[in-house]
């Protein structure tokens, strides 16, 4: 044997040994959960940290932007919109593209999968298409029989799913089954351990590459189309878009919903969304966000549907069951300054079991875990915003930091590209499954539809899908707990990406249930010196106090004063009352408490100083035609309020709740439009409302924890 052939034999021997070696290292790293030598870690690159500039050539007319308003304007938008690129939206029959979604937000009409037009009464100011990150674009590829990936067995059920003649209510069962098969991860089967794709996945820290049912190129092209569309529709001064996606994670066994939307601040974003396939643990998402921020790309992640988290969105411990510490709290607040308090799938402000003394707590409660099959009760404690604020104070009391010091927004979570915000013009959100009144459960089922629904829902692991009531049998699949909600509102100087994103970061936001209520909220120690009827009220309040989302640091024993100013939706019902909800940590007993104060009543009525309640203003709804009392209620409510029970040593938070006069709920509109009476087991009416982000009262200046915001805002120093 000559030297050359020896070399070749060595090489041939060494290659498999190296291959096996790499497999062993990977096995240690992945399966054995043991840390490996860092030298091997350096073999890995992080595909999720590659930054791409998706900006398109500026196509907008270079007219001068209006001057920024230093007193700020309220901008209304939706930060939670799915299109055909979401794995479930496509299964629900949605064919709307991100372009369609943005056109809708700008006021154009687009088509619902069932054929009718969806159009806004008034355009929105900002919008973000946030498709599910994991499997983004894949289901569409399974369905398109020209793609390679569609030739696999797992893709067969999806073939031509949304062909036109299949866009019918009758296909709901087939669709529901597919939805659960994805949720059950039937198609997420990995390659065998020896497979080169596994090594590729490990080397690029891109776990999804290890899945048979995954095609990275299709995934990336879906993401870049979403980013392109966002950048193309961004029109500074008139209409703002954000690149975004949904990080759709959940707890392992109970299926507690831990979904978050990730919103980017510029035209740059990562080359792919960082998804639940990378990790189920939200802390890992924050680590990735921190790393992206180091690269100059800022993001916020916004949790939603805490109501369906089985109490796990706002826990007193971390995802892995460890105690929360200052580091955890800082990291969470750095990345999650906002929470989506309301959307189609219910409102997460508080629950009657958590706030038994709050007469308005029983509002649009959705009591099931998100996506659970069969539908399973979601434990309230740990799933609602007000309790999270209180728990935050408790955690701070025990020196663990406050991970729940977030501001509030609403959004729709529509899967049709088009949010339904109007009770009298409602299409819910999952396309063919709830696009008509019968399937939503607001009118009785025709006999043949009843049979079909029961058959399908039994296959979909929901044995009990109808309910017998006075007017007949109704669908009872959970859609009755959904509703026409909500909107995100930001107080910003101008309608640009930068200005609105900064408002998100400083939490100068409020949420509404779809109504265009507007609310100002200021706190300070010298606000009573401002004339409430002065034209300069707002600019003075900004000078003398702090606004929603901020900390109010104590001034000796002085009791804080608050100014609230709310304006009704110009097309909606008049305002009934304004409330301030206070939560505080009693330092002597170590117990958190909450209380609801009415602070301004409509029609010149006065708050009862003992009960802190407004008298009934007499506004009523006629359920037979949904007409409401005329000339009752106020177009605006404005007041200066001083906390009558203030204790200067107690850490507290204050947020505003604005209530409209009652109006018909969508289920009532659905019924009367079709000649039925509203269903007796649902609320007939609804009080549309808005919630401001809180102002936190901090007793001692040394107690302020300044969370660095990563460069976009100057850090405030505590004096």
């Amino acid at each position: 044997m000559n030297v050359k052939s020896k070399k070749i034999i060595y090489l041939l021997l060494i290659l498999p040994v190296m291959y096996v070696g790499l497999l062993i290292i990977m096995d240690f790293d992945v399966n054995q959960k043991r840390p490996i030598l860092n030298i091997f870690k350096s073999l890995q690159s992080d595909s999720a940290l590659e930054v791409v500039d998706f900006s398109v050539e500026n196509t907008n007319l270079n007219t001068d932007l209006p001057k920024p308003n230093k007193d700020k304007n309220p901008y209304y938008g939706d930060l939670h919109v799915h299109t055909k690129y979401s794995f479930d939206a496509y299964v629900f029959g949605i064919t709307a593209t991100p372009d369609d979604a943005y056109r809708y937000a700008k006021g154009e009409g687009i088509k619902h999968p069932l054929g009718y037009e969806m159009k806004l009464r008034e355009p929105l100011d900002f919008y973000s298409v946030t498709d599910h990150g994991f499997y983004m674009g894949m289901i569409q590829a399974f369905s398109d029989t020209t793609t390679d990936i569609s030739k696999n067995d797992f893709a067969k059920p999806f073939h031509n799913l949304n062909r036109k003649e299949n866009l019918t209510v009758e296909s709901a069962g087939e669709r529901s089954d597919l939805f659960s098969s994805i949720i059950g991860a039937v198609i997420a089967e990995p390659f065998p351990n020896w497979h080169p794709r596994i090594i590729k996945a490990w080397l690029t820290k891109n776990t999804q590459q290890a899945l048979k049912s995954f095609d990275y190129d299709i995934h990336k092209s879906a993401w870049s189309d979403i980013a392109r569309s966002a950048n193309e529709h961004n029109d500074p001064g008139k209409f703002t878009t954000f690149i975004g996606y949904e990080f759709t994670t959940s707890t392992d066994i109970e299926g507690g919903n831990l979904h978050r939307n990730v919103i980017f601040n510029s035209s740059e974003a990562s080359i792919r969304p960082w998804t639940r396939i990378d990790s189920l643990n939200p802390e890992d998402l924050w680590t990735w966000q921190d790393a992206m921020r180091d690269k100059g790309v800022d993001t916020v992640s916004i949790p939603h549907n805490s109501n369906g988290s089985n109490g796990q969105m706002f826990e007193m411990e971390s995802f892995l069951g460890r105690a929360i510490d200052q580091n955890y709290s800082d990291k969470r607040m750095r990345n999650e300054p906002l929470v989506e308090i309301t959307q189609v799938k219910g409102t997460s402000e508080t629950h009657p079991l958590l706030s038994p003394d709050d007469n308005w707590a029983d509002f649009e409660i959705m009591d099931a875990r998100v996506g659970s099959r069969p539908p399973t009760y979601s434990r309230p404690s740990g799933g609602y915003v007000r309790e999270a604020y209180l728990n935050g104070l408790t955690l701070e009391f025990t020196q663990q930091g406050n991970p729940y010091k977030f501001g509030l927004i609403g959004s729709s979570d529509t899967h049709t590209g088009a949010g339904a915000f109007d009770e009298s013009n409602y299409w819910s959100k999952v396309g063919l499954l709830d696009g008509d009144a019968e399937n939503r459960g607001s009118v009785p089922l025709a006999p043949e539809n009843r049979e079909r629904l029961e058959e399908y829902m039994a296959a979909f692991n929901q044995p009990q899908s109808t309910i017998a009531l006075e007017q007949g049998d109704y669908a009872n699949t959970g859609f009755t707990q959904w509703g026409a909600s909500g909107l995100a509102v930001a107080w910003a100087e101008e309608n640009t990406r930068d200005s609105i994103f900064k408002a998100f970061k400083r939490k100068e936001t409020f949420a509404t249930t779809g109504s265009r209520i507007a609310v100002r909220f200021f706190g300070g120690f010298n606000l009573s010196s401002i004339d409430l009827n002065s034209e300069s009220l707002v600019s003075e309040a900004y000078k003398k106090g702090v606004t929603m989302g901020a900390d109010l640091i104590s001034d000796g024993e002085k009791s804080p004063e608050f100014i609230v100013w709310a304006q009704k939706d110009k097309n909606g019902a008049s305002l009934q009352r304004v409330q301030i909800i206070k939560g505080w940590m009693d330092t002597t007993s170590g117990r958190p408490s909450e209380k609801v104060f009415d602070v301004a009543c409509s029609d010149g009525l006065k708050v009862d100083p003992i009960t802190h309640r407004c008298p009934d203003n007499g506004a009523r709804v006629n359920i037979s035609d949904c007409s409401i009392s005329q000339n009752i209620g106020s177009t605006e409510l404005k007041t200066l309020w001083k906390d009558p029970e203030f204790k200067s040593s107690d850490k507290s938070f204050y947020y505003v709740r604005v209530l409209e006069n009652p109006t018909c709920r969508w289920s009532t509109w659905d019924a009367i439009k079709r000649g039925f009476k509203p269903r007796e087991d649902l609320h007939d009416t609804i009080q549309e409302r808005a919630w401001s982000s809180p102002i936190w009262y901090i007793p001692s200046p040394s107690d302020v924890v300044v969370v660095p915001l990563g460069g976009t805002l100057p850090i405030r120093t505590s004096n």
């Binding site: 007319l61 209006p66 009220l537």
Partner: protein, 264 residues
């Protein structure tokens, strides 16, 4: 005479049989191009991650052949007819074809033509700079107070109510006026009187007296200022129109027959 007819008849049948024979021979050939084989092998490689063995290659080709045979037999039985999936798929294919053929960038002429036809979509609407005095309908006699305030020629601010969005508005469009004051409020800005107190006008919130200090009439922007935008929009429209235009083109060749008495 009778015989001649018979002979022609026989000849006709013979020609028919020969024709069938020849054609069916042709149909039974399955041609597999090099390209097809290579693309299949490439697909196999990208899935499995290595070169296929000879055995595997022959299996791939056998599968292809079997598929082709089944396909042709199905065609000969006419199974493709009335199959909605196949119909839909073919319709989709031709739609894509029509759309893709239009991906070329539009010419200057096309763009200026497009702009001419869609001018109104690019109209920069009128904008107004104004001050207003607001008399909230929450307070009594809001209309009378507004009228009084105009009458006296003595506009003392203290008499009006503060408006939620402020007193002064600079360069705002008719759409924004509607959005801030309620639908229809922009009607009062038609034919505006400049530098003069006018009103009172009713909004969703109460009565307003207006002092419009500046009015910029709407205008159609210069084509060069919005050229990029026009190009993007035209391409989008072309894509959207491609299929419907094609249908329009050929639909005249079709006639649709439907039972007018069908009871549904």
């Amino acid at each position: 005479m009778k015989n001649k007819v018979f002979i022609y008849f026989i000849i006709g049948i013979l020609i028919y049989l020969v024709d069938i024979g020849l054609n069916s021979d042709e149909e039974k050939n399955i041609y597999i191009s090099d390209q097809e084989v290579i693309s299949l092998i490439n697909a196999w490689k990208s899935q499995v991650g290595r070169e296929p063995t000879d055995n595997e290659i022959s299996r791939i080709i056998n599968n292809l052949v079997q598929e082709e045979i089944l396909y042709r037999e199905a065609l000969s039985l006419g199974l493709e007819r009335e199959d909605k999936i196949i119909k839909r798929r073919l319709a989709q294919k031709i739609s894509f074809l029509k759309q893709e053929s239009l991906l070329k960038e539009p010419t200057k002429l096309e763009i200026s033509e497009f702009y001419k036809n869609n001018k109104d979509n690019y109209f920069i609407s009128d904008s107004f700079t104004f001050t207003h005095h607001f008399f909230s309908s929450d307070n009594i006699n809001s209309k009378e107070r507004a009228l009084n305030s105009l009458d006296k020629n003595n506009l003392s601010l203290s008499k009006s109510d503060p408006f939620f969005l402020g007193k002064n508005f600079a360069d705002i469009s008719l759409e924004e006026i509607n959005s801030n004051f309620g639908n229809e409020f922009s009607l009062y800005f038609k034919n505006p009187q400049i530098n003069e107190w006018i009103g009172p006008y009713k909004s969703s919130f109460g009565y307003h007296n207006l002092f419009i200090s500046n009015y910029t009439p709407g205008f159609y922007p210069n084509i060069n200022d919005i050229y990029k935008q026009l190009e993007v929009d035209l391409m989008q429209v072309n894509r959207d129109n491609a299929v419907s235009n094609f249908i329009k083109e050929v639909s005249s060749e079709y006639s649709v027959i439907i039972n007018p008495d069908l009871k549904i």
